[in-house]
């Protein structure tokens, strides 16, 4: 599992520019260009370290903005996501509080925020196409963005290496 994640990260990092270009070719509507530029903004997070919770969410922080998603391990365990309920933009969420849910055919699983703050954006693409969580959990399948108000909360999270160890050590 650890290896998969590491490889995936490398892969996305390497191919990101290609992927972006593909978007440009595939979609030419102005709205999509907007999305495209947003992706670029997201891409900055690739250089930023990704932190994980024990409940398998990840967060990357750029300035005071955190982007949140679920890990590859989580999406694999969840199976095909068919419904994503994300927190409303403008809502205040607390660290470790339930703020949404992801549903597969098999089951529903709740979403917990790794940090406290105000939700400033949710990934509407994911709401329309929840399978993005399975196909691209670290990129197009991000879930929502939070304006952090307690930076100390990040200290309690695991970095990539610690998370991989956590997965290996059997979280049970």
């Amino acid at each position: 599992m650890a290896k998969v994640i590491v490889q995936m990260t490398k892969y996305t990092a390497k191919t990101f520019s290609h992927t972006s270009r593909e978007y440009l070719f595939n979609f030419s509507a102005p709205k999509v260009s907007l999305y495209f530029s947003r992706s670029i903004a997201n891409s900055r997070s690739l250089n930023v370290e990704r932190f994980y919770t024990e409940k398998h969410e990840w967060i990357t922080v750029d300035g005071n903005i955190g982007i949140i998603g679920i890990s590859n391990y989580a999406q694999e365990a969840l199976g095909d996501v068919v419904y994503a309920q994300l927190p409303d933009v403008g809502s205040e969420i607390e660290k470790e509080a339930e703020c949404g849910a992801l549903e597969s055919v098999k089951a529903a699983s709740e979403l917990y925020s790794p940090v406290s703050g105000k939700v400033i954006e949710k990934n509407e693409e994911v709401e329309k196409t929840p399978s993005l969580i399975n196909t691209s959990c670290y990129e197009r399948g991000w879930l929502f963005k939070v304006e952090l108000n307690k930076f100390d909360e990040l200290k309690g999270l695991m970095n990539e290496k610690a998370y991989n160890e956590f997965l290996k050590s059997d979280p049970a």
Partner: protein
């Protein structure tokens, strides 16, 4: 995140209830009631991934803490005689009612579901209780526990029926096949194995005391396998691998034949809404026969996950969820299981209450419902009137892979139970519009030989 389904059950209760159930090992909100009932200490807040991994023997990650987490010691989970096959095919093994069975294989549940609706899938249902019942008083014996007319059932025919209690509550649902007037074959639920066994033995004792003779033979799941081959191509698959004439074998009929020198029973029935067969066979040929089935084109293994979503679309009840001891067949929309002759004779357990309900109605009724725009609605979710009054609960529900929307079953007062009617369902504190829908949700494809 990833703590599956618990919320589905607790949504209508106070947070206390939620806390109690937080750590419950609930692999799926829809199919695994028995495990969800286990109460686990609060400090063991765990997400489902972990519990699922723990129950996944194939990954060798079983943790001893699982057992200690339960308040009551649970017996070692059992295996069917096809267990190795599931492991070899990388089935995701879970504990279902005390049985280690695959919830899915490598394919997603929805893909496996669609495969079953398009081609054919093979399900291991060897955990179900198979019982041979024989003796000269056997028809009367089985009728004394169920609501069906076995006396007038044709030889070779099978019937869906229910064991009822004195209050008319359903003790289990089962399929009885009549081999002849003195011999029947019964298949009932794995989760009710102990209760069914006890019920049959108790009644056998009663019969003995009255000088009547009934022989019960509970087949050992390690000696007798049961598989279900389901899907539109199921018949051609069987024809390809065994000498069997299926043209005259219509839905709910059974035939005994010989394969690899061993007797097998093929019953045209299933739990998916598709044409299909349940094959009961000695364990020693199970692997070979199953492999022969899987070697036919477009036939795949499918697990409990697909089985559940398929039966939901077909509008079929799951015991312990949609029906239980507190529910009568009339409330469950299963009045058709009370045979005409039995109504006249009024001599089945709970006849008084059931017949009175048929006459004057019930206070709740099982309905199907569809949510056009909204999340999957799971077991335990509240059903509300359009005005917002809580009036019932969802008993099964989830996304329908065939329809691409959320479907569910639940109980409401009869005045709300008319098709096309609008109601509300509550998921995670928000309400969504739902429509009362006639079941099956997806057209069934049973073979009627016409």
């Amino acid at each position: 995140m990833i703590r599956f389904g618990v919320r589905g059950r607790s949504v209508c209760f106070e947070s206390l209830d939620k806390h109690l159930k937080l750590g419950s090992i609930r692999e799926s909100s829809t199919i695994f009631k028995s495990s969800s009932e286990r109460t686990i200490p609060k400090q063991r807040l765990r997400c489902l991934i972990d519990s699922e991994t723990r129950s996944n023997e194939t990954e060798g990650r079983r943790s001893s803490s699982t057992a200690s987490a339960s308040t009551a010691p649970t017996p070692e989970p059992r295996k069917t005689c096809l267990h190795d096959l599931h492991v070899e095919n990388r089935g995701k093994i879970i504990n279902f009612s005390g049985w280690l069975l695959p919830v899915q294989y490598q394919e997603a549940i929805a893909a496996s579901h669609q495969h079953t609706r398009t081609f054919a899938s093979l399900f291991d249902v060897g955990h179900m209780l198979q019982t041979q019942v024989s003796g000269k008083d056997v028809t009367e014996f089985l009728e004394s526990l169920t609501t069906s007319d076995l006396k007038n059932l044709n030889t070779g025919s099978a019937v869906l029926t229910v064991f009822t209690n004195e209050n008319g509550g359903i003790l289990d649902d089962l399929i009885i096949t009549k081999d002849n007037d003195d011999k029947y074959f019964v298949v009932s639920n794995a989760a009710r194995r102990d209760e069914d066994t006890e019920l049959l033995l108790q009644q056998q004792e009663n019969y003995k005391r009255r000088g009547k003779s009934v022989k019960l033979q509970f087949l050992d799941p390690l000696e007798q396998s049961l598989v279900a081959l389901q899907g539109p191509t199921a018949a051609s698959v069987l024809r390809a691998i065994m000498k069997i004439n299926l043209t005259h074998l219509s839905f709910m009929n059974s035939v005994e034949t010989t394969v690899f020198g061993n007797p097998i029973r093929v019953t045209r029935c299933g739990y998916t809404g598709e044409d299909g067969f349940e094959i009961s066979m000695p364990a020693k040929i199970a692997r070979t026969l199953v492999q022969a089935i899987l070697d036919t084109p477009d036939t795949k293994l499918a697990g409990l996950g697909a089985r559940d979503s398929l039966r939901l679309e077909a509008g079929l009840c799951l015991y312990g969820h949609d029906i239980d001891e507190e529910t009568t067949p009339v409330e469950a929309g299963l009045t058709w299981l009370i045979a005409k002759r039995r109504r006249e004779e009024a001599n089945f357990p709970g006849a008084k209450r059931i017949l009175s309900q048929i006459k004057t109605g019930t206070v709740k009724k099982r309905i199907g419902l569809t949510v056009v725009h909204g999340p999957p609605v799971r077991e335990g979710a509240c059903i509300l009137t359009p005005e917002g009054e809580r009036v019932g609960k969802i008993t099964s529900g989830g996304p329908s892979p065939t329809l691409g929307r959320s479907i569910a079953m639940g109980y409401v007062p009869p005045e709300l139970a008319h098709y096309g009617g609008g109601i509300l369902v509550e998921v995670r504190g928000k309400t969504y519009k739902a429509t009362v829908t006639k079941m099956p949700f997806v057209k069934t494809n049973y073979y009627t030989a016409k």
